[in-house]
């Protein structure tokens, strides 16, 4: 873990000695304690959902941190033949299985790791003795802006998020912590990359068949608004649409993650 910080100082990555064991207390203080509460999900029965108190990483998992992980757990190193769990394109933005790369176009060690499947994200959090946040946990903490725990009634809050989509994705991605920090002290929830959550597909997949559920009606065209709790929350629509387009084995270029844990 400490190697990760060293990596920020020196661009050379190969040969960096890494601890093979999960980090200790240091990583825990990097988490924000979130007080539980109620919120109305974009899709649901319109009733508020109760979310228990939890802790969540202030920052997204970086390339350097994920590098530590694959060094320690070799079966998660990029392979010639990616497994179903890694997904096509797993860590493709790295120069090699154990090399993030260097140069102007290379991925930055301090940037969020992307091109990771849900399986890989889960395995990482597990290694850190944490877990992925639930969709409700993520949405609850993402209601906040710099000064308020719930900024959803502020049109400027939504517009700011939408402005993010108006900008092309920077290549390579900038460092974590470079976009925003909300009142909980959690960074980059909006403005850097999409994030995996534990139950990313829970909203739409209701059974064996997508057709039997509310999938079609909710996601497409005007039907998307008919069942939503807030038809003006375009930023949330984009998030839900993104999540429901995913499968657990996808490794996508603008999709990263952070870990969470139950309240201490």
């Amino acid at each position: 873990m400490r190697c990760g910080s060293a990596l920020l100082a020196v661009a050379a990555l190969v040969g960096c000695a890494v601890q093979a064991s999960p980090p200790g207390e240091g990583a825990k203080t990097a988490m924000a304690a979130i007080e539980g509460g109620r919120y109305v999900p974009l899709y649901g029965d319109g009733e508020p959902v109760e979310v228990a108190s939890f802790r969540i990483d202030r920052g997204l998992v970086t390339n350097a941190q994920f590098f530590d992980f694959v060094r320690a757990v070799p079966r998660w190193q990029r392979a010639e033949e990616p497994s179903l769990l890694m997904g096509e394109g797993y860590l493709r933005h790295w120069a090699g299985p154990l090399e993030i790369g260097s140069g102007a176009k290379a991925a930055r060690p301090d940037a969020p790791v992307t091109h990771v499947s849900w399986f890989a994200a889960r395995a990482y959090c597990d290694w850190r003795e944490k877990r992925l946040p639930s969709l409700d946990e993520w949405e609850l903490v993402a209601l906040a802006d710099e000064s308020s725990r719930d900024a959803t009634d502020d049109p400027a809050f939504h517009q700011k998020i939408l402005d993010w989509y108006a900008r092309p994705r920077p290549d390579p991605l900038p460092p974590v912590g470079s976009t925003s920090r909300n009142v909980w002290g959690v960074e980059d929830l909006h403005g850097l990359v999409w994030e995996w959550v534990e139950d990313f597909n829970s909203v739409f997949v209701t059974g064996e068949s997508r057709a039997d559920g509310t999938f079609d009606r909710q996601l497409y065209c005007a039907g998307a608004a008919a069942t939503a709790s807030d038809a003006r929350n375009y930023a949330a629509f984009l998030r839900y649409a993104m999540r429901s387009s995913l499968q657990a084995g996808y490794a996508v270029g603008n999709l990263g993650f952070r870990c969470a844990a139950d309240a201490a």
Binding site: Q159, R167, P168, Y220, A241, Y250, A251
Partner: protein, 474 residues
């Protein structure tokens, strides 16, 4: 049963069976022979007519790309596109064809996308089957049952935002017998755009959700940018050409009153269906709809495509141009034949006995400016705009205008005589027409004094004497 009765029952039964069949479009059940890859074109081009006399399997490969491009001079927007252009690639198939559709979402894109083709018979028009995350591809097939010109668009939530960002295009399903041959086929599609800044505000302009919800666009465009098919990009043609425009309206909000100034549509396929209307001046094209218009170019000149909800053309960019070269036909259109002073019989309407009021004469520079402002608002502002900023590619700016400030005498001549032909103002070329305005020397002096003392121009005063000197010589 008597044989005649049996026969008549058979006939009745057959007629009923045929009647039931008549509810099925002709394309249904067509025999599919062979396979080909669809040729896709960027606007304003259209793929060549289909020569086949049978249905086939057509493979369409369409890639969604999110990209930053100019929406106007000096103004950028992040477009979401089907095939890299707004509108998206033009798809041309034949009634009865089986389309194998490959929907690709480029890995660098930020959001998932899908496609709803109005030519599809099936739930969602393909939306569910084509829904893909960045870096994924989905394949689905459909048979095109009904001929016509159909809009396609992205239908991923929030659908209005996907459409507002440019995610629409046209798919033409030719009838079995084809369409009448013409000389020039064009692809033009209207769309409304909502930016945080106002029309012309420079820089990268993000999508404004508030304006989109209020249905109050800053830009109404043909083919995705101001000047996409006007000015230097005007579409060339020749006198004698028969022109067909495949005109679509992506919306997301506005309905188009599509009109070509100086032309009459000989034929319009109303709403791009099988109803043909003739001799049409303006055809209404709904959001998510299309029309096919045919007309012949009988005389040379520039024919301007507009949404005749005319403020959109004048102030929001909905202008296109077809520039027809060739010989004049003065029988059809003479041009100006004569020009003279018009004096109604019995003098001015409403004239009453007594002294006519003397023309207003400015006694000071301040009065000249005040009077000039009134003249400007009545005669100039519609084109040169309230702050003298002009309209990109159409009307040059007067504010901080190098062309204006360099030669005030020339400006006097232009206001008096009008101007046509190419000029360069602040490094941008303009090639449009300013009419003569019929102002008096006093009025020319006033309006120019006003303009010279606004918007960072060089100041000074133009007197009626100077106007007279310039126009008639010392």
């Amino acid at each position: 049963m008597e044989p005649t009765k049996i026969a008549s029952r058979l006939v009745a039964g057959l007629a009923a069976a045929l009647g039931a069949l008549a509810f099925l479009p002709a394309g249904a059940g067509a025999e599919i022979r062979g396979e080909e890859k669809a040729v896709l074109t960027d606007p304003p081009e259209v793929p060549a007519p289909i020569a086949r006399d049978h249905a086939t399997k057509v493979i369409v490969e369409l890639e969604v790309r999110e990209l930053v491009d100019d929406i106007s001079d000096g103004v950028q927007y992040t477009f979401w596109t089907f095939g890299g252009t707004v509108p998206g690639s033009f798809i041309r198939v034949r009634e009865g064809d089986l389309v194998e559709f490959h929907m690709r979402n480029h890995p660098d894109n930020t959001v998932p996308h899908n496609i709803d083709l109005h030519a599809v018979t099936g739930p969602g028009g393909g939306a569910t089957s084509s829904f893909v995350a960045p870096g994924q591809e989905a394949v689905f097939s459909f048979q095109v049952l009904n001929p016509g010109l159909y809009v396609y668009h992205c239908a991923t939530a929030p659908v209005g935002m996907h459409i507002a960002n440019g995610m629409y295009g046209l798919i033409l399903v030719e009838p079995e017998e084809g369409l009448p041959e013409v000389d020039r086929e064009l692809y033009v599609m209207q769309g409304d755009f909502y930016t945080e800044g106002r029309y012309g505000d420079p820089g990268l302009q993000p999508f404004s959700m508030e304006k989109a919800l209020e249905e109050n666009p800053d830009y109404v465009l043909f083919n995705g940018s101001v000047g996409a098919i006007s000015g230097d990009n005007a579409i060339p043609a020749q006198v004698g050409d028969r022109v067909r425009i495949y005109f679509g309206n992506g919306g997301p909000n506005l309905v188009s009153s599509f009109h070509v100034i100086g032309e009459i549509f000989d034929e319009v396929r109303v709403e791009a269906g099988s109803l043909i209307n003739r001799d049409v001046q303006t055809t209404l094209v709904p959001a998510g709809g299309a029309a096919i218009v045919d007309f012949a170019l009988e005389v040379p000149g520039t024919f301007i495509l507009v949404d005749h909800s005319i403020f959109r053309a004048f102030n929001k960019g909905a202008i296109g141009m077809i520039r027809a070269g060739g010989a004049e036909n003065e029988l059809i259109y003479s041009g100006r034949q004569d020009e003279r002073i018009y004096l109604p019989e019995g003098g001015a309407i409403g004239a009453h006995p007594g002294e006519a009021p003397a023309p207003r004469v400015a006694a000071s520079k301040q009065e000249r400016i005040a009077e000039g402002q009134r003249i400007y608002q009545a005669n100039c502002m519609a084109c040169h705009q309230g702050q003298g900023q002009g309209i990109p590619r159409a009307f040059p700016p007067l504010a901080k205008s190098d062309y204006l400030n360099a030669d005030v005498d020339r400006a006097i001549e232009i206001v008096a005589e009008g101007l046509s032909g190419r000029i360069t103002v602040n490094d941008v070329d303009y090639d449009t027409v300013m009419p003569r305005l019929g102002l008096s020397h006093e009025q020319i002096a006033n309006v120019l004094t006003y303009v010279l003392n606004q918007w960072g121009n060089s100041g000074g005063e133009v007197t009626p004497d100077r106007v007279a000197e310039v126009l008639t010589g010392p």
